[in-house]
Amino acid sequence: MNIAHKPTFVLNQRHLLGIEGLSRDEILGLLDLAEQFVELNRQIDKKQTSLRGRTLINLFFEVSTRTQASFELAGKRLGADVMNMSVASSSMRKGETLIDTAVTLNAMHPDLIVVRHHASGAVELLARKVDCSVINAGDGSHEHPTQALLDALTIRRNKGRIERLIVTICGDILHSRVARSNIILLNALGARVRVVAPSTLLPPGIERFGVEATRDMREGLRDADIVMMLRLQRERMNGSFVPSTQEYFHYFGLDQKKLAYAKPDALVMHPGPMNRGVEIDTAVADGAQSLIREQVEMGVAVRMAVLEALSRNLPNA
């Protein structure tokens, strides 16, 4: 099986900065491509050559386990040379600006840079200063496009479609790049998106995102096909945005009782890492309706698809 020699699909852009700006066909093209990598990743020999000779830099200004590992594996399986740089070892610690870091790395002629940054818009800023392709691995509360793609792939493989599904996203919508990317993608593919959160965790104007917003789990989960839980950061739990973890779990934590409001065959997702007992109960996280582990598997395939598609646009490709 050699996928790299069937370059039927090309992304019409140099970078992947967000789901915003991707056409429906581009999203579907990436999902179809990823589908093929899922099969590949289940084989013993996963090595491809389409990125041979290419250099991929993983530039993470925020700690990450699964996204960073996932991009690293994706790059290596496609044959690229992968370098990981995390904030702890970078010159940013010594006061270097983001742009100086970008210019410095650019001088080393990488082909692809994967960036995660705590500030919304930072990845776009960096992309303007380099000659290679840039992939957003999460910028602040803005976008996390590969997460939305892997979520869509997971949903499509389990439900057979995305169109007309009711997808309910619950939790800290205000700070969530996962929610923003998912809302855009799911809307583009024709799903009905709902968000559920206390008002303190809903961004003003959320209704204009093309979602139904509610503060009540029973209402939000009614007839839902997919329940997507979001992580609540620790610093937001104790009185700043919600009073306490107990109260949050009581009203917004997904347990079996609340899950019963959704369709009987509803499936549960979480981008990880989970706070068990805060936004999700262990019985649900590990239960028969959970897709959480499958999401991680899809993550590698989706990132391979993104790297592959972008590399087809690179000079000398």
């Binding site: 206390p198 303190t200 009073p243 107990q246 109260e247």
Partner: protein, 434 residues
């Protein structure tokens, strides 16, 4: 606790006022099984169940029991000042059938278990209804919002930091926003503590002559202005706990005209007393916010008369002798009021400033509406929480006769006209003046 047999009661030949319906009739009111049965002319002794206690109320007014929206009770933590039991005795004597107690106890009412404690203590020891407000922020520290959802589910009827203001606007905004999801009423003491500074009475000429530091009315107005703007952002239900000055009333009026869900209380002290009453450093008149000028008081009374001020409350705050027998600046603030609220307010009625109906509305039906309580009305089927008033009886207040554990009343030895002669809670007489 032994429960006395509850006979039906007929309050006969009374002037019946039901402020929830702006209804005034001369007639009889029948109470049975803890609820109001009917109010009309000529039920008479013939038309009532056997065993009914008939009370002749000729010349008297019958009205819904009062709901006091702001009373500080010392339980738990300061039982030497007031217990739920002693506060309820005082309330019954003042015609208050529902006390809304404040969360600044020790520990503060910021945990569902403490709400539960208050409700159980009230059930076991109080002779009137007691409804707790819970803390808006944990420990009343103004830093982190309290568990508004779980506290409300436990029985808290509103949220407030008592006599403290939440100075951090972000904390206030989020608490208002979060509270809106639970349709919580957020009650806020509007006084900027930095502007209060060392102030102990109203800022102005009189404070200057006494050599006391003043509290500007701006301390109140600025905080209220800020709150109103946050309410506009959050669309929540907001109640200013105690307004005292004309400028604040302008702010309130503007907010109501905008259609915001804003309401406000005035304390009986600020409606009937002014800064001059402090006279020779009388610490029983040291309250927070401080007594204002006569112009402010008049503005407050006018606002009550035209409905801008929604609620009149006692601001009952028992302070022991040790806390009051000090130089004015060092003395504790607060005045008791459960027993004297209505009788003091009748001064406004006798002076022709406010009608009795409007006054009763501000003390019963309006707080019931805001707090979602079933009382404050004489509609058939509502709780038999009823008072009988003698509007004319002249008397002199003797602190020794007060039921409250503390005697810090600003109406010490005041000449008063009109009093509560009977208080009925859930169809049982809990107070009778003989």
């Amino acid at each position: 606790m032994m429960v006395a047999e509850r006979r039906p009661i007929l309050l006969a030949n009374a002037r019946i006022l039901d402020p929830s319906r702006d209804l005034e009739i001369d007639g009889d009111l029948l109470l049975a099984d803890g609820i109001v049965r009917e109010a009309k002319r000529g039920i008479g002794a013939a038309g009532v169940p056997e065993n009914t206690e008939v009370i002749d109320c000729r010349g008297k007014v019958v009205a819904p029991g009062l709901i006091d929206m702001r009373a500080f009770v010392g339980e738990p933590g300061a039982e030497y000042r007031e217990t739920i039991a002693s506060a309820s005795q005082a309330a019954a004597a003042g015609g208050v059938t529902t006390i809304v107690c404040q969360p600044d106890t020790s520990p503060a009412i910021d945990d569902p278990a403490i709400v539960d404690f208050i409700l159980r203590r009230a059930r076991d020891t109080a002779i009137v209804h007691v409804q707790p407000m819970a803390a808006l922020t944990k420990g009343l520290r103004g830093e982190e919002m309290a568990e508004i959802g779980l506290l409300k589910a436990a029985g808290a009827i509103a949220f407030t930091d008592g006599a403290k203001s939440v100075t951090n606007a972000q904390v206030m905004r989020r608490a208002l926003t979060y509270g809106r999801d639970f349709d919580a009423l957020i009650v806020h003491h509007t006084e900027d503590p930095d502007l209060i500074g060392e102030g102990v009475m109203n800022e102005g000429e009189f404070a200057a002559r006494l050599g006391l530091s003043g509290v500007p009315t701006a301390a109140e107005t600025i905080m209220l202005e800020r709150d109103i703007r946050l309410v506009a952002l959050s669309e929540s239900r907001y109640h200013a706990a105690s307004l005292t000055c004309a400028e604040a009333l302008e702010v309130l009026k503007h907010a109501k005209e905008q259609g915001l869900k804003v309401s406000a209380s005035a304390s009986i002290n600020h409606l009937t007393l002014n800064e001059i009453d402090i006279g020779p450093y009388r610490t029983f008149l040291k309250v927070s916010p401080p007594l204002r000028t006569e112009d402010d008081r008049k503005a407050l009374v006018a606002a009550l008369a035209d409905g801008l001020i929604d609620v009149v409350m006692s601001d009952h705050n028992p302070q022991d002798v040790e806390g009051k027998r000090l130089p004015f600046a060092e003395a504790s603030a607060g005045a008791i009021g459960l027993e004297t609220m209505l009788t003091a307010a009748l001064r406004l009625v006798h002076a022709g400033d406010v009608s009795l109906m409007v006054l009763l509305k501000a003390m019963s039906s309006r707080p019931a509406e805001l707090l979602g309580l079933p009382g404050g009305t004489l509609r058939p089927g509502s709780p038999a929480d009823v008072i009988v008033l003698d509007l004319e009886a002249p008397w002199v207040l003797d602190p020794a006769e007060l039921k409250s554990k503390c005697k810090n009343t600003p109406f010490d030895e005041a000449r008063l006209q009109g009093r509560v002669v009977r208080t009925i809670v859930a169809g049982r007489s809990v107070y009778e003046y003989v």
